[in-house]
């Protein structure tokens, strides 16, 4: 792995229009040997990997953000332009550009090829999804196409086993050949006249080399007749979201039970093996119960990401944006904001990063401002814990889980408040009279590749576990320390935790949080919860476990059910709909907006909403007799 061995390794780059199957191709070529990071200074995701050609040659491959041209209208597209032109200092200029095209949709891709020819780099056209094109009767004369374009052409099927063999063979040839750029860079931003000329040229090449089928793709058309129907389409969209949240709550249960009893067993074993004392308390209460309380949510997070990845790969996300454009537009959001906001259900961080597809700054700011209000997966632990402790596990009409319904309601509250906040922001603070355009390709529906979804899930699981292993673990150690020191004086009665630093901090915050019904244990848990929302659950676990002393074998949920009033539980749920408790999200907002101001605004407005909401819920509940 020394840098020495990297010398002489050729750098190839994947370029292509959105929906060309570029990322699926990248996954197929590099497998799990990929590194996902950011380009320095900007938050555009950089995906790179190393692959081995059939002859054993190593090739460095980078997946550039999808674009229709090199004009660079958004930070993503600027990265693509700068890498392609070799302007990005941190990035080795690519030796070969692999322009990936959807073989069923060549018009737009060939215009991009014509533009890419001007940059003077070695170039190869990859006709991806060739199997679908052939099945649909599209007849492409590869030799003719290559001759007309003056660019080598190869076919591939990213989602099929063996579908990249021919591509790898050609890459091998290219890597073995001369790699220096064959020409000068003559690219400059095209005028509208040049765009027209390039499209005419692309159409001429297609007429010469491609035989179009007698009947076009009708499957997507028939599916869309339902999924884009003004009424049925919206009902289906709601249905998809509903199933998604039922699945997150109900299907994950058995696996979570296994994980959780595994950690209980581990804790009990440690308790029995180690002598009573600080070390035993640290490992059992600090490490095992703390980290275990977070890892138990991995199944739910994976189910959520599974749905998002599937919907993305199926091609449904663009349809959702189409259906939601006017509805979101009424709230001052761009139709394209739907995808970032939907991703924010998993985590606001990728969601905020995904706002890069919105090129208007005001639209993007509004979306960033409300993205943390979408119910992210880190809230799931908090919601699940409180719901399962306080909402009875009954079913309505025999099949709708009441707990799932409450969960759905909490998600609904998040969405409603996001729309309300963006409405206020857009109409009162970020007003502008020119609305930016909404133009989006709706790709043909495709069956997602199992491998590509699996790689996506693997990457997410790894990120979550790393977080649990580092941030959350260190927070747990801190909480355990705060809850265990100083030790109670000799002969003191009551639980030891009452004499600790944690109790002192909790008592200090108590006057501020008492009006919303929070006890000092919650006040303590909210502080480390700043690092990440789910940490609050682990912190509560640690606080109650230490408070309960050696007999605290009971589950955290039962502890809450016996120690909190219903009003407190409801106030806690209301708090968590809004609470700005995620340092990483705030840091991301700071980075994406390039200003501390927007971070401060987000933090303050969310904190204010959280306090007001919890206050109202608590006092209404108490007035109704739930105190």
């Amino acid at each position: 792995m020394s840098t020495q061995s990297e010398i002489g390794v050729p750098h190839f780059a994947l370029v292509g229009t959105p929906n060309s199957g570029k990322t699926a191709l990248f996954n197929a070529l590099t497998g799990s040997r990929q590194k996902v990071a950011n380009y320095p200074g900007v938050t555009v995701e950089r995906k790179a990997g190393v692959l081995q050609t059939p002859s054993g040659r190593r090739v460095h491959l980078i997946d550039l953000p999808g674009t229709y041209s090199l004009r660079g209208r958004s930070p993503d597209e600027e990265i693509t332009r700068d890498v392609v032109l070799g302007r990005l200092v941190s990035e080795t200029a690519p030796d070969l550009l692999l322009c990936v095209a959807d073989a069923t949709n060549l018009r737009v891709a060939l215009r991009l090829v014509i533009e890419l020819k001007q940059v003077g780099r070695r170039l190869m056209l990859v006709l991806n999804m060739i199997d679908i094109a052939r099945r649909r009767g599209i007849d492409i004369n590869l030799d003719r196409l290559s001759a007309e374009l003056g660019v080598p052409v190869v076919t591939s099927t990213a989602v099929r086993r063996g579908g990249t063999e021919e591509l790898l063979r050609r890459m091998d040839e290219m890597a073995a050949g001369r790699l220096e750029p064959p020409g000068e860079n003559t690219w400059k931003p095209p005028t509208t006249g040049e765009l027209r000329a390039a499209q005419r040229e692309a159409d001429r090449v297609i007429a010469a080399a491609v035989g179009m089928p007698a009947r076009p793709d009708t499957v997507s058309g028939r599916v869309d007749a339902v999924l884009l129907h003004p009424v049925a389409g919206l009902v289906m969209l709601l249905g998809v979201l509903f199933v998604m949240f039922q699945a997150v709550f109900a299907w994950a249960r058995p696996v979570m039970d296994v994980v959780s009893s595994g950690f209980d067993w581990l804790g009990a074993t440690v308790h029995d093996t180690l002598p009573d004392g600080l070390l035993q308390s640290f490992i059992q209460n600090g490490v095992i119960s703390g980290v275990g309380n977070v890892i138990v949510f991995l199944p739910q997070i994976l189910i959520l990401f599974f749905f998002i990845l599937m919907l993305e790969d199926l091609g449904y996300m663009g349809r959702a944006a189409f259906l939601m454009d006017r509805i979101m537009g009424g709230a001052g959001l761009h139709g394209r904001a739907f995808i970032p906001l939907l991703s924010s259900f998993a985590c606001a961080i990728p969601g905020i990063m995904a706002t890069r597809v919105i090129d208007n700054r005001r639209d993007r700011l509004t979306t960033i401002l409300v993205a943390p209000l979408m119910t992210c997966s880190a809230r799931i632990p908090v919601y699940t814990l409180i719901i399962s402790a306080f909402v009875p596990a009954t079913h309505l009409w025999g099949w709708v889980s009441l707990q799932g319904l409450v969960m759905f309601g909490l998600y609904g509250a998040g969405i409603t408040s996001a729309l309300a906040v963006s409405f206020v922001a857009k109409h009162f603070f970020l007003y502008e009279n020119h609305t930016p355009p909404f133009m989006l390709e709706l790709p043909a529906y495709k069956l997602p590749s199992v491998r590509s979804v699996a790689i996506g899930l693997y990457t997410r699981a790894k990120m979550f576990l790393q977080r649990a292993g580092t941030t959350i673990f260190s927070m747990m150690v801190l909480i355990w320390f705060l809850a265990s020191f100083p030790r109670p004086p000799e002969g003191a009665d009551g639980p030891a935790i009452n004499y600790s630093l944690a109790a002192m901090i909790g008592d200090a915050l108590q006057p501020v949080l008492a009006p919303v019904g929070f006890n000092w244990q919650i006040s303590v848990a909210l502080i480390p919860g700043m690092a990440a929302r789910e940490v609050a659950v682990a912190a509560l676990g640690t606080v109650y476990a230490i408070e309960g002393g050696k007999e605290a074998a009971e589950q955290i949920g039962q502890a809450l059910a016996s120690k909190w009033s219903l009003a407190t539980a409801l106030a806690m749920l209301a708090w968590y709909i809004f609470a700005p408790q995620c340092a990483s999200t705030l840091a991301m907002i700071r980075r994406e907006t390039g200003s501390w101001r927007w971070m401060a605004i987000t933090f303050s407005y969310m904190l204010a909403l959280a306090y007001v909401a919890a206050f109202l819920v608590y006092n209404v509940a108490v007035a109704l007799g739930a105190g």
Partner: protein, 98 residues
């Protein structure tokens, strides 16, 4: 061959057409209410998505509220866009019965 069509049917903005409309693009012309660079930007984007003069176009779907946005089929691809931007696409109907 397009001349006969163009001479018999008047040109209209795509943004005013209904679902089922079939026709051909006559011109891309961003209206006077959008100025300078914004107008050029919209024109460039439409061109990049394949909206060029002569292309055949059909409105497949309309959005749930105010029949906006629209999804159009253009040479084998489907593009969603708002009626507002579709006003810049001048089309000639190729069939009288939508």
């Amino acid at each position: 061959m397009t001349d006969t069509l163009a001479s018999t049917a008047p040109s209209m903005p795509l943004g005013q057409a209904s679902r089922g409309f079939c026709g051909r693009i006559n011109a891309i012309h961003v209206g006077e209410d959008v100025h300078g660079s914004a107008a050029r930007e919209i024109e460039s984007r439409l061109l990049e998505l394949g909206f060029v003069e002569g292309a055949e176009i059909k409105i497949l779907h309309e959005g749930p509220i105010g029949r906006d946005p629209i999804a159009v089929r253009i040479n084998g691809t489907t593009i969603a866009l708002r009626r507002r931007e579709a006003m810049a696409i001048l089309v000639t109907s190729s069939s009288r019965t939508p």
